[in-house]
Subunit: 373 residues, 2 copies
Amino acid sequence: MTIAHELNPNARILMGPGPSDVHPRVLKAMATPMIGHLDPQFVQIMDEVKQMLRELFRTKNELTFAVSGPGSAGMEICFVNLLEPGDQALVCVNGVFGNRMCENVERCGAKLIRVDAPWGKPIDPADVKKALATCEPKLVAIVHAETSTGVLQPLEEISQLVHDAGALFLVDAVTSLGGMDVRVDEWGIDAVYSGTQKCLSAPPGLSPVSFNERALKVITNRKTKVQSWFLDINLIHSYWSGAKRTYHHTAPVSMVYSLHEALRLVFEEGLEPRFARHRRLHEKLRDGLEELGFEFVVDPQYRLPSLNSVKIPAGLDDAAIRSRLLNEYNIEIGAGLGDFAGKVWRIGLMGCSCTENHINMLLSALKTIMKEK
Amino acid sequence: MTIAHELNPNARILMGPGPSDVHPRVLKAMATPMIGHLDPQFVQIMDEVKQMLRELFRTKNELTFAVSGPGSAGMEICFVNLLEPGDQALVCVNGVFGNRMCENVERCGAKLIRVDAPWGKPIDPADVKKALATCEPKLVAIVHAETSTGVLQPLEEISQLVHDAGALFLVDAVTSLGGMDVRVDEWGIDAVYSGTQKCLSAPPGLSPVSFNERALKVITNRKTKVQSWFLDINLIHSYWSGAKRTYHHTAPVSMVYSLHEALRLVFEEGLEPRFARHRRLHEKLRDGLEELGFEFVVDPQYRLPSLNSVKIPAGLDDAAIRSRLLNEYNIEIGAGLGDFAGKVWRIGLMGCSCTENHINMLLSALKTIMKEK
């Protein structure tokens, strides 16, 4: 057999929907020597990660940890633990990830109620209110930062409606956490999941989650077993928490190292300065893109700083230009997904990829390519 | 908030049930710059990983890849894809991981039939034959290398019985792959899963799997949707295979880098020399342990070279000695699990942890500690 060559990928400039550029200190952290996943020294690292995640989620929730899988596993851990067959779940859908939530609900054997908004628009609280009058959902799920469209969803009004209806409020914060405020306790979020490869600028592979006491009570009082053994919080809880840790699965030690270092970088910068950086550079990118003739998909007040969706101007060849950006400039931007395929580009400004230089590189390259066309 | 310190764990000598020591080249590979998970250069890396895994599993199966989660996710991907509610599944149980398989079967809504053997003994093919006469299982599942007991299960005779009964043969090769032969095609294994943190000496976080055409047909012809969206092979298939890769989840890029490098090391050494090293050093360790008065749990012909289970001699304090090994010598060995808790130690000789020096370090330290007691 021919043995594959040593890895030697190009040094890319990652400005798509994630992964984003990873800080050299985070890359280096993964080379920290391996230790056992039940080693007291690793337990301490887990505890530090939990504590930093709590600060980041602005929560006191004890049950705050990193799921040993990517964001999709984070989404799934929420649905399979909170829902039982026959439950009702209301899902707000205005993009790919809302649709994926619906898939999760159905695969749990729960009854799905949808509230839709057009792609690129936020969910209207009035529509949630109307839907809540017709059903009794156990939970209402919504995407805070829709990576497929670039919409930032205001959460507080909907949270109030959800709690008035006696339901749990479940939030997807994959593309917001680390790039803007996610106030779990203040906003009445009962369960939340995120990813590491977006605004946290760690490699993909873990999903930070947090559950409050209300959500945990639902999980511990289930009548049926969680359909996933791997994602059963009743079992994971004593692996990530408590004085004596009980073996469940083997945590991805090096990934936890990477998240630990990425979180240290977040707090060295400070949350407010970090969020301000994302907002300020989003505006710079916006100005530059508009100057080049691009139009944003999302209305200004609902735009995510971390994920900028722009319409591809008529006459520009989507795939050809993205290829040139990648092959000639090593710059990755995101294609449109689903309804937006071929029509929209998604430009990420996340974590370490959110710098003046990134914006300058992208705008200069785009300008050159668009002139040549 | 107080920011956690930079990571600085002790350099451990990992001789437990996994993770095992990771080669510096593998640690370094994780610091390879991040690239997009749909980047053509990453697609090529995925293809190389698939090809090396095929060689390692000794299979031609096209559907051979690494699940984006630890071994427990690998176990779960097999059960949730192959079983539907109401199906029958026969599980062979002689340790913790057979029990975990039973949990998986029940959580799929399938009917469980068990064939048990005492902990520390292999499954008797005659018992499988007897059980098969009383049921019509869709699959029969068995652990090749029971990490909780150190039993190496012969597979060929049971495989024949399973196929005669028209069932699929599902094998857990978590602690065997990379340390001894796992001949998927020759042994008639229809589906198999493993882990990276055992004899492959990569960090935990991925689960190599392989499915043959027969298993894939069962998956594509399901009447119901797979209960896990994250682990649905009907969706993952076109993410890991084919000319055009379709986004499903985000693969843990740095973990895939680590597996790529670990597999390169495996093939640089060669499979036969690697397996011979594990056998030879197992014998050296055995001689040394027996000289110190330890007795093996498993009969010689069923002993795993990679996981050595020994009875803790009367008068030795289990926890105290393991603590001293860890704190004074930085050596990790494994405690007993389940029925064997407090009675058995599990000493791993896996991948990079399988060297003369490891054995000498452990035996010398044990000798000193046992003399002092």
